[in-house]
Amino acid sequence: MMTITEKILAAHCGKKEVVPGELVNARLDLVLANDITAPISIKEYRAAGAKKVFDPERIALIPDHFAPNKDIASAEQCAMLRQFSREHDLSLYFEVGRMGIEHALLPEQGIVVPGDVVIGADSHTCTYGGLGAFSTGVGSTDVAAAMITGEAWFKVPETMKFIYQGKIGKWIGGKDIILRTIGDIGVDGARYRAMEFTGEVIRKLPMAGRLTICNMAIEAGGKNGIIEPDEITEKYVSKRARRKYKFYKSDKKATYADVREYDLTGMEPQIACPHLPENVKPVSELRAINIDQSVVGSCTNGRIEDMREAAKVIRGHKVHPYVRMIVIPATQAIYKQCIKEGLVDVFIDAGAAFSTPTCGPCLGGHMGILAAGERAVATTNRNFVGRMGHPKSEVYLSSPAIAAASAVLGRIGRPEELM
C-alpha cells in the first residue's frame, strides 16, 4: 500500500515497494537549473573532469532570474549557461525571447509530465507535483552530479494528506488554499515530508491552481507537493506532452503521517503578512494597509489564468496614483495570449507596467525593487526580510485578484470593493 509519491519513487529505482525513511537512488527524467544556480553546477561539473552529460535531451538550463541580463555580472552568469548548453548540445536551453519562468515554462511546453521524477536547483521545482510528478528542489552540487549520472539519492518522505471540502467563493483559488494551509502548519510544518493535496475542492480545481498549490509546498518546508492526476490533468497534458506519461494514484489504504481536513466554505481571500509565509490573515483584517507597489507574476501566479483574473478585476479602473502596478506574464506563450485576449490593453489602460517574462522582482533582482519603508502586495511566494528589495521594505503575498484590487484601492482590499 503506497502513496503516489512512494509509487513514483519506487518505479524510478526499480523496486516494487519503498517505505518512508528508505534511501533510494532514483533515475531522473529531467534535471533543471537557472542562471543563479547553474553556474555553480557547471563549475562543479567541470572540476570533476566530466565531459559528457547523461542525456542532452533531459537537462534544462533556463536563464530566468536575472534575465534579460540585469547587469554585467548577471550577463556573465547567463553566458555560462549559454556556452555550456552549446558545448553539450543541450536541447532544453531557452534563450531570452523564447524563455519563460522555469516552473511555468516546463509544464506549459510538456517537458515535464505526470509520473516523472525531476530535480531542479531551484526550491520551487516542487511545482510539477500539480501534474502528478515527483519533483523537488536541490542545490547546485546535486544538479552537477545528476548531470553526470542522471540519478539522485532521496530519502523516501513520509506523506501528509490535506483534504479540502466545501464550496469556495468567487475570487478564491489555489493561492488562497495554499496560504491557508501554510498559515495552519507553519513554515516547517511539512519539513522533509511529501504534501498530498486532495478533496472535492482540488478535484474541481483547474491545472493553474494546482500548480500554484504545489509550487508553495516548499514554503511549508515540504520535500514535494503532489496532486493525483485525473481528467483535468489528462486534458492539460495530452496536447502538450513531449514524452510518454503515466498516472500514479495513492492506494486507498496507504499510510499517512498526518491527515488534515479543511472546510473552505466561506473562506475569505488569504494574505501572508511580513516576514514569513506562515503569517496568514484574511483580507478583511488588513484593509488599513496602504501599498506602494502591486506585482502580478512569478512561478506561483504568472500563468494565463492569473493574468485573466487580474485583468477581470482591474478592467475599467485606474491604478491608484500612489501605486506602481507591474504585471509579468511567466512565459512568451502567456505574453502572446495576453495580447490576443486584449489583456495587455486592459493593464496598460489602467496604468500598469507590462513586462517580458522574468522572475525579476520576486527575489529582489530587478524590474520592481522596493525602497526602504515601501510596501508591496505581490502574487509571488516569499515575503522574507529584503526579499523584494530594501531590508526595511515589506511584502504581502496574495492572489492575483487581491493584488489587482489593491493596486486600484492603494491599500489592501478585495475585488468587491471596486464594484
Binding site: 544556480t37 553556474p39 566530466a50 555580472a73 552540487t141 553526470i148 519539513r191 522533509y192 533582482g365 531590508p391
Partner: protein
C-alpha cells in the same frame, strides 16, 4: 575534527535570503558572497563582528526558503566553522553535506548556549561542549549514507568514483 569558537545566536526560521540576500546572487564567488553573510538577518553587521572559527547557533528550521547553495558557501567562506541548530530546512541540510559545511542538530545545545559563549565541537563524536558553562551536549547522529558521503569527500568526489572519472 574539532571546532572552537564563540557563539552567535539566531532565532527560528532563518531563511536563505537572510543568510545571503538574492540581490548579491549575480556572482557565485565565495569571497564576494561571504561579504554579505547574514546581512538581512537580525545581526546585519555579523561580518564586521565575527571572528574566523566562530559558530552560528540557531533555533528551528535554519536555512529555509530558496535552494541557493550560495547560502552555505557564504557561511563557510565567511570563516564560520560550523552551524548548530534545533533543526535544518531540508535543502539546506542536503547542500551542507554536498559542499562541506559542518552542521549539527541539537535542541539541548541551542538552549544551553548564550551569545558569546565559547563552544567546542568534536565533529567525529558529535559532542558539543559549552566551555563557558562547562556543559556538554550530544548532536543528533548523522544518517549512515551522509557519513559515507563525508568519508568519500563530498557528493562530487562520490560521483566521480561512481562514474569512473
Amino acid at each position: 575534527m574539532k571546532f572552537n569558537g564563540n557563539a552567535w545566536k539566531f532565532g527560528a526560521d532563518v531563511d536563505t535570503d537572510a543568510i545571503v540576500p538574492a540581490r548579491y546572487l549575480n556572482t557565485s564567488d565565495p569571497k564576494e558572497l561571504a561579504k554579505h553573510c547574514m546581512e538581512d538577518s537580525t545581526t546585519p553587521d555579523f561580518m564586521k563582528k565575527m571572528k574566523p572559527g566562530d559558530i552560528i547557533v540557531a533555533e528551528k528550521n535554519f536555512g529555509c526558503g530558496s535552494s541557493r547553495e550560495h547560502a552555505p558557501i557564504a557561511i563557510k567562506a565567511a570563516g564560520v566553522s560550523c552551524v548548530i541548530a534545533k533543526s535544518f530546512a531540508r535543502i539546506f541540510y542536503r547542500n551542507c553535506f554536498n559542499m562541506g559545511l559542518p552542521i549539527f542538530e541539537s535542541a539541548e545545545a541551542v538552549d544551553g548556549i548564550k551569545e558569546g559563549d565559547q563552544i567546542e565541537v568534536d565533529a567525529d563524536h558529535g559532542v558539543i561542549r559549552n566551555l563557558t558553562t562547562r556543559k556538554e551536549f550530544k548532536a543528533t547522529p548523522v544518517p549512515a549514507f551522509m557519513q559515507e558521503l563525508i568519508a568519500a569527500g563530498g557528493l562530487m568526489a562520490y560521483t566521480k568514483k561512481k562514474a569512473g572519472l
